[in-house]
Symmetry: C2
């Protein structure tokens, strides 16, 4: 593989809530996404999900609290935990780590499939 | 878990080549390390290793090439690939993802065990 410059990769796409795969670590995907507005409540029954905020302010709503991530802050949503990401700035840039092929909504029917770039 | 502010965590320790565990994702550890000078040539037979440069300039020497990481750049060293990290600035701050309990040198006998902070 080649090294990945995160900001260059973010510059290569503009749609929101459509994750891009930029690297693979064992059976996991390193994904980048641009976020705008609210996502849906969902959960991943079989896996944790790592969020690292790169730019903007991201709220991760959980049922019992809200975790607010500024750039340089990370949070791991535990498996089987309902969460809803909300961009608190006009755009948020986030790095995620998810298992290979995991649907971003927790459900194949509603997911936007991650694309390798 | 609580959210993790990377720079605050880096401010909480000063030794080099001694990884700190700041979060867990499934069976993996998110580790932070400060690097100075050269590490040893080593490999991890059973796992990839993810490096994300946070501050400074990091060379990852491989046997056939060198990957130079600036802040905001990441690289995944494939499993069973010899590598040697070298800090090219007086100090480098790096985020790593490794399997739980993986020795940083690839060998329990010479490893500095990662500490949870």
């Amino acid at each position: 593989m080649q090294k990945v410059n995160l900001l260059q990769k973010f510059d290569s796409f503009s749609d929101h809530w459509a994750p891009r795969i930029v690297a693979r670590y064992n059976q996991n995907e390193v994904r980048l996404a641009k976020l705008e507005g609210e996502f849906i409540w969902h959960q991943h029954d079989d896996t944790d999900e790592l969020f690292l905020c790169i730019e903007g302010v991201l709220d991760l709503e959980l049922r019992d609290r809200t975790v607010t991530l500024n750039p340089g802050e990370l949070f791991v949503v535990p498996r089987a935990t309902e969460h809803r990401p909300i961009a608190r700035t006009p755009e948020v840039k986030v790095l995620l780590i998810d298992p290979k092929d995991m649907p971003n909504t927790g459900d194949e029917a509603t997911a936007t499939r991650a694309i390798e770039i």
